[in-house]
């Protein structure tokens, strides 16, 4: 976006994705009293000691740095939930488990700034790394099934950072495939696509085309 290193495909840097992720709401427990904050994105507060409040992540990190609150980790970040997610990811070949869109960025920010607020932090960290690895390999294996007829790719439940990593590659690969496919003589390939589409729509799942 801001960095136009490749003029063809606008690329979000990782820092920009993190910036967008900081808008997510998270729960904190303040240890001081403060008046309500009237911000452009919304009103937060009033903050009373030991009463939990929902604030955006950037505000939570800023307060935490000044020692004014403790951050409560989100509920998906417990060891049991993550273990279950990891098992499910390993079991299913194509589907991705439902994780928050910005789970990578949120977890990294919390590890950096709220180390003491997360129970079993090493376990949580290694679980998230494993989940990320498994998902990335799944993305790669599902990207292998391109062919000339693929005009768009839809993957369900993929997180922001994972999408950002594969975005330039997928865009260029699709373009190359389209270019080469236009060389082939016109076959009656379109009737093939119709029954596939109807199948996928009826299942309610959005899967990769061209499989």
């Amino acid at each position: 976006m801001a960095v136009q290193s490749e003029p063809d495909y606008s690329l979000f840097t990782a820092q920009e994705i993190e910036f967008v992720a900081e808008d997510e709401l998270i729960e904190i427990v303040p240890n001081m009293r403060m008046d309500p904050l009237n911000l452009i994105c919304g009103d937060f507060g009033p903050f009373l000691p030991q009463i939990a409040a929902q604030v955006p992540l950037w505000l939570a990190v800023a307060l935490k740095k000044r020692g004014k609150c403790t951050i409560r980790p989100p509920e998906w970040m417990s060891v049991e939930k993550l273990t279950r997610v990891l098992e499910a990811e390993r079991d299913s070949e194509r589907e991705f488990q439902l994780l928050p869109f910005h789970y990578v960025e949120i977890s990294r920010l919390l590890f950096d700034h709220a180390r003491d607020d997360i129970p079993d932090i090493y376990m949580v960290r290694s679980l998230i790394e494993d989940i990320r690895d498994v998902r990335f390999h799944k993305v790669q294996s599902s990207l292998e099934t391109f062919d000339g007829r693929t005009s768009a790719v839809q993957i369900k439940s993929l997180s922001a950072m994972e999408v950002n990593i594969v975005r330039p590659f997928v865009a260029r690969a699709l373009q190359s495939f389209q270019k080469l496919d236009s060389l082939l003589p016109e076959t009656d390939s379109t009737p093939n696509n119709q029954p596939q589409e109807a199948d996928k729509a009826s299942k309610g799942r959005r899967v990769l085309r061209g499989r």
């Binding site: 290193s5 490749e6 495909y9 690329l11 840097t13 990782a14 820092q15 993190e18 990294r108 950096d112 990335f136 790669q140 990207l143 292998e144 391109f146 062919d147 000339g148 950072m161 950002n164 990593i165 594969v166 975005r167 330039p168 590659f169 260029r172 690969a173 190359s176 495939f177 270019k179 080469l180 496919d181 060389l183 082939l184 003589p185």
Partner: protein, 185 residues
């Protein structure tokens, strides 16, 4: 697709192509080895692609399949597409092939390009995202320009992500401030 100012496009069109002249051409010294200044009908000459394209549209020449798409390459591609060194044939293998398809009278060229790309694409995909810098040169020397583009796009985004993950200072002082200022007095 093909843009006028695209450097890759311009260089791809420089590839040599053998043509057979259908009409005699006077006053052109295209063939450097010939003494006379004109080209006879039926003689075979090597021209750059952009020239051959124009002449072909005027029906002055007929184009033969260039050497990089010959039988040997086809057999190699059918055997194992991922290991074929396409760069030694031509670094613009795919672009050049795409331009050749409308003018050369060979129907199978399109299929060849497409199947080669599809099989090599899988290799590029896996290697690009996971390989470290050490393993890079081996496969890079076999890829055409287009595939190298793909490869580098993936490499750079994975590297950027890893760098971000390690962490570090979010805000860095601008390099301008680092220089010592002369005192204004």
């Amino acid at each position: 697709m093909a843009s006028y100012y695209d450097i890759d496009d311009i260089i791809a069109e420089e590839e040599p192509v053998s043509v057979i002249f259908q009409k005699p051409a006077n006053g052109v010294g295209i063939d450097p080895s010939a003494e006379k200044n004109c080209v006879d009908q039926g003689s075979k000459v090597e021209l750059p692609f952009w020239l051959a394209n124009e002449l072909c549209q005027r029906n002055a020449v007929s184009v033969l399949v260039p050497a990089c798409f010959d039988e040997k390459t086809r057999l190699e591609i059918q055997a194992d597409p991922a290991c074929v060194d396409l760069r030694s044939r031509s670094p613009y293998f795919y672009e050049f092939g795409c331009k050749m398809v409308p003018i050369v009278g060979d129907r199978t060229l399109g299929f060849l390009l497409f199947s080669a790309f599809r099989s090599r694409y899988k290799e590029v995909l896996t290697k690009a995202h996971t390989a470290s810098h050490v393993a890079a040169p081996k496969i890079l020397s076999r890829l055409t320009k287009e595939e190298v583009n793909l490869y580098e796009a993936a490499q750079s985004s994975v590297a950027a992500f890893k760098k971000w993950r390690v962490g570090g200072r979010r805000f860095q002082p601008a390099s301008v401030l680092g220089r010592k200022r002369r005192s204004e007095e």
